[in-house]
Symmetry: C2
Subunit: 430 residues, 2 copies
């Protein structure tokens, strides 16, 4: 498939870029900061993967890279509006999402995916078990052929990454019955995969079919995302055996996949995780998986913010990114309550972008990627509002709160601290 | 003044409370977890202060206590609507603010303060230099009598705490001229105090008048809040000499004040602080001040979230609280752009409450104060929506996104992970 192979030469054309602008926060340009050999080594060691069918929107996910942001969208069995989902994807891309995951389960899933691949240029991920269940009509009617056919179709269509939940076996499900979790399995893909396995009274199909799946992916450049089925759904559900064993299993699968040339992202420590243990558990995860690229959904460090879970997730996500996560899933204010609308998507993306950026400052320090913060501060000091907003993640949102023409901010008016000090402190300098 | 004296007996009546409910997150009831002697020791050592004219809304701020949240409001020279500010105070109280700071600079400041004291029961803080400048008409007309008269009036009116900016002297201002800060002084109270000092070509009036101020406060129970005039206004402005010296000076003033029986909260490390250094600088602050109660405004760990600074501040605030801050100032989405409206106030309070709660989990672990999170999770597991929302910081906000009558969440509909696992995994248990 032309253009799908990893082309390091293209990636590294950006090397030597010196001007810093907002694009650097979202783009692949960061590889310009690494020499080709070092990036090669990281990719070869499975610590970095490259995602993206559009070379201008390719991203590097993993150790040493900036933290990336994914946005989930797609039709649900309650709300099905393909055009609306496409619109959400556009909004996500405009506001700086690095990737989109299409989680559709109803309507014309094939056609929506085709539209997303055509009209959106950032990488697209799918969770084939969703469509396998949707196409089969029920959990009970899903069979191996249906699963493999769906994966093959998504790969042929040109998706950039697929998610499977292969990190738990039948024994893990038995163990889960014995655990005293408040919330059992809260991963949708995980619960669909578990339900198929339990209904068939057979091993998790993604374990049984793993060789076939790797066969489909090998040589395509499509990234295999190993889902986090065993994540906790409450901050009171501490890390347990099923969760630990899934990390170990996913690490082994990653080694098998990498050996066949399939790049891997591991999803882990997502869901609801208390902030007290977050650093320790993330360090454990990185150790067990050999520092493979880590995708985290949330994590949400408190339950009582429901309705504002994008804020809870921004706190958890910033800390997770600071302690080792490479890739965050945006959480919207509608999380746990409803399918998000397009405004929720915008709020969720911006919250996650803030979290990723702060996480980067924790793990990398204040480096060249914080140049937009510096430029914004300088323009703030001179009250150059438009130039400030040009550096912001959401220039329109800032402008709505401070309409053009307003010279001062109505918070302090003539008693603006900066203006006062210009008059009384710094003017005497001249 | 009856009722203004610290009455430990009243405070400790709540000792022995065993039922845990949402009130415990905002109330003084936490002292029930400490025996009287231990709390006495903490208060005597200046590590905890008690705030509040209404005994039912008294709070303990400091080491070992839950993190508290303050909300700034008040008229500005651009927008003056006393009734609107009172409405904001009501909204802040309803949504769980622990204290209000009245930052009014125009209109009928005395009457607004009287209304706030009468109609709001949570503690009220003022920054007397604001009204001193407003009453005098300009920086140039402020004199010592005007400052002392304003402080006396606020204390007589019954405010619970006042802020002064006495931690910097003329030399600090000279030093500041030499610093290469992007943003000079961004504290309004700090810049007003500095402007008075510079215009008068005299020492900072709050240093000169400190003995008189302590005289006014002694025996009243009013808490002295030592402002953070030298805080940084950009994450690129790292901790410098003026900032360090202010911490040292405020620590010395706190010792003097405590010796006269005046309880002290120190404001520090607020403003804009990069997340990389946050832990180290907070630990320094606690060491220098002898673990006195620490009030932090923000801190905001990135500039590019402008328009969404409540989210940036929630990340910085949660980390700050986790590493030692005792008391956070809510930041609204309008921060740096405009005087917040009542919706912004609500969003800011909720973001700060989430941050304080997550911060508590970092510093204290998941203890009894996280019982609401557990109850919410249990009701989430059984999809008991109303009972879930009853534990939330914003039940109305959650209900708007998930209206009564909706049994399922439209995110997953019939493919709800919890429902699937009830059917396929946990039902087999029976």
């Amino acid at each position: 498939m032309p253009g799908r192979q990893l082309d390091l030469e293209i990636l590294l054309q950006s090397r030597g870029m010196v001007s810093i602008d907002r694009e650097r926060l979202v783009g692949i340009q960061e590889v310009g900061r690494l020499n080709g050999e070092k990036l090669h080594r990281l990719i070869k060691a499975g610590k970095v993967v490259i995602l993206g069918r559009d070379e201008k929107k390719r991203i590097a996910v993993g150790k040493g890279m900036t933290t990336k942001v994914n946005v989930n969208l797609g039709t649900s069995s309650v709300m099905c509006n393909e055009a609306g989902e496409l619109e959400k994807a556009r909004i996500a891309e405009i506001h700086g999402a690095d990737t989109i995951s299409d989680c559709s389960m109803t309507g014309d899933i094939d056609s929506l995916r085709a539209c997303l691949l055509h009209e959106i240029s950032i990488p697209l991920t799918t969770i084939p078990v969703y469509q396998a269940v949707a196409d089969a009509g029920s959990i009970e009617k899903v069979d191996d052929r249906c699963i493999l056919r769906t994966i093959q179709k998504h790969v042929d269509d040109g998706v950039d990454s697929i998610v499977i939940h292969a990190g738990f076996d039948r024994q893990a499900l038995e163990d889960l019955r014995e655990q005293r979790r408040i919330m059992g399995i809260v991963s949708k893909g995980g619960s669909l995969s578990a339900a198929i396995s339990l209904y068939q009274d057979a091993e998790n199909p993604f374990i049984r079919l793993l060789d076939d799946i790797l066969e489909i992916l090998a040589g395509t450049g499509v990234v295999l995302n190993l889902g986090n089925a065993m994540r906790s759904g409450s901050i009171h559900d501490f890390k347990d055996a099923p969760q630990h064993n899934e990390i170990v299993s996913n690490a082994k699968i990653a080694t098998r996949a990498n050996a066949k040339g399939v790049p891997v992202i591991i999803e882990g420590l997502g869901g609801h995780v208390n902030a007290y243990h977050l650093k320790e558990w993330l360090e454990d995860h990185d150790r067990i998986t050999g520092n493979r690229p880590l995708f985290v959904s949330g994590p949400i460090p408190t339950e009582i913010g429901v309705g504002h879970d994008h804020i809870s997730a921004a706190i958890g996500g910033a800390m997770a990114a600071g302690y080792g996560a490479d890739y965050l899933c945006a959480i919207t204010p509608a999380e746990h309550l409803a399918l998000p609308d397009k405004n929720h998507i915008k709020e969720g993306v911006i919250a996650a972008k803030i979290a990723a950026h702060v996480g980067d400052s924790i793990k990398h320090g204040i480096n060249a990627f914080f140049e937009p913060d510096k430029i914004l501060s300088k323009h703030r000091a001179s009250r150059a509002w438009d130039k400030q907003f040009a550096q912001a993640l959401d220039p329109e949102g800032a402008r709505e709160l401070h309409p053009p023409g307003n010279k001062d901010c109505s918070m302090c008016g003539k008693f603006c601290a900066i203006a006062l000090m210009e008059k009384y402190l710094f003017s005497k300098k001249d």
